[in-house]
Subunit: 207 residues, 2 copies
């Protein structure tokens, strides 16, 4: 069994969405009766690899702790979209064999950006028509290799198409060097009660 | 495939180790051009279900991001220790069939405590001899159903026995109602660079 870690490392120096969040990992060393280290963490729920729940943009949407984990576990397919410069359209996706209940991971040129680069506002994103197409294919979840899945579309139309159809959005994957094929996928977000998102660890298991 | 979530829910009101850490989940709602929610998280790396890495107590110990995930994934056995009142000894464990490379999860009466109870300083813990016994059985990882694995032993002898032998410690599992038997286990901690621990989500998969 080969495990491939596709999670964005979390560190004080990492890229954050639109460079607007600070990341604070603060470690203290003690040497009282014995040596020990202890850390405090302060960051956005949308840090690094994370899952967006429907309540991120929908008033009555499900929160992250109520998303069934089977939505984030199962057969996945990594789609090679590295040739695209700006956005992913429904036509770009039509060439791939996407099955019902697939977890679809979009590998783009975003994955080549260093983990600590300034936020790239020209990242490759998912257009509204591509989102509608993926929903029509009845996928279980969608993943992308940047800290957002859409740029500045009006009313967050890409997010809403997925979230209204109960398709969790996994942002901040790292897919550089990952062959585009099928895997078993496990994404486990923290169990944050009542929140709209949670940081997660995501892995592929080679079949 | 049946997924059993054995993670401690993270919330402002949850139990923390010795009641000494505050948990801050702070959600903001915005209604500018569109409705959205966004949260900030502030808590200890030892919150809820979490994994201790060797660097927690060993000066030159491995940090959480360098623990091989295969140590936290694989065959596990849930051991019924619910009859014990104070601590788990090597003799208590001798009755169980523990195999090399097992991930061993200790189910005790701790699991019956509510998730928001004041910290119980009389929790059932793992004695030094039990730790030595488990290390001698060459287990991959150890898990327990409370926010600590030892009470006030001198020099953290239980932790150190595991950590010096490259056995990650998973604390804060919730095993109430979980039958004591074998499962597939996945525990994915956040990929926190350079830290001594990380919050995690942990699940069992029924075979």
């Amino acid at each position: 069994m080969k495990i491939i870690d596709i999670s964005w490392p979390i560190a004080n120096f990492m890229t954050t969405y639109k460079d607007k969040h600070s990341i604070k990992l603060q470690q203290t060393e003690k040497e009282e009766s014995d040596f020990s280290r202890e850390s405090m963490l302060c960051f956005s729920a949308h840090t690094g690899t994370h899952v967006d729940a429907p309540s991120h943009f929908l008033k009555d949407g499900k929160t992250i702790d109520t998303i069934a984990l089977k939505k984030l576990i199962g057969q996945c397919i990594v789609l090679d979209c590295t040739g695209l410069k700006e956005k992913i359209t429904d036509q770009d996706l039509a060439q791939f064999e996407i099955k019902k209940n697939d977890i679809v991971l979009l590998k783009t040129k975003n994955s080549a950006l260093p983990i600590d680069a300034p936020f790239d506002k020209n990242f490759v994103y998912v257009g509204k028509n591509a989102a509608a197409y993926l929903v029509s294919r009845q996928i279980k979840a969608i993943g992308i290799d940047y800290l957002g899945i859409e740029r500045n579309q009006p009313k967050h139309e890409t997010h809403k198409l997925f979230l209204q159809n109960d398709v969790p959005i996994i942002e901040g994957l790292r897919l550089e060097g990952v062959p585009s094929k099928r895997y078993d996928f496990f994404c486990l977000p923290l169990k944050l009660i009542g929140l709209e998102a949670a940081p997660a660890r995501a892995i592929l298991i080679e079949q």
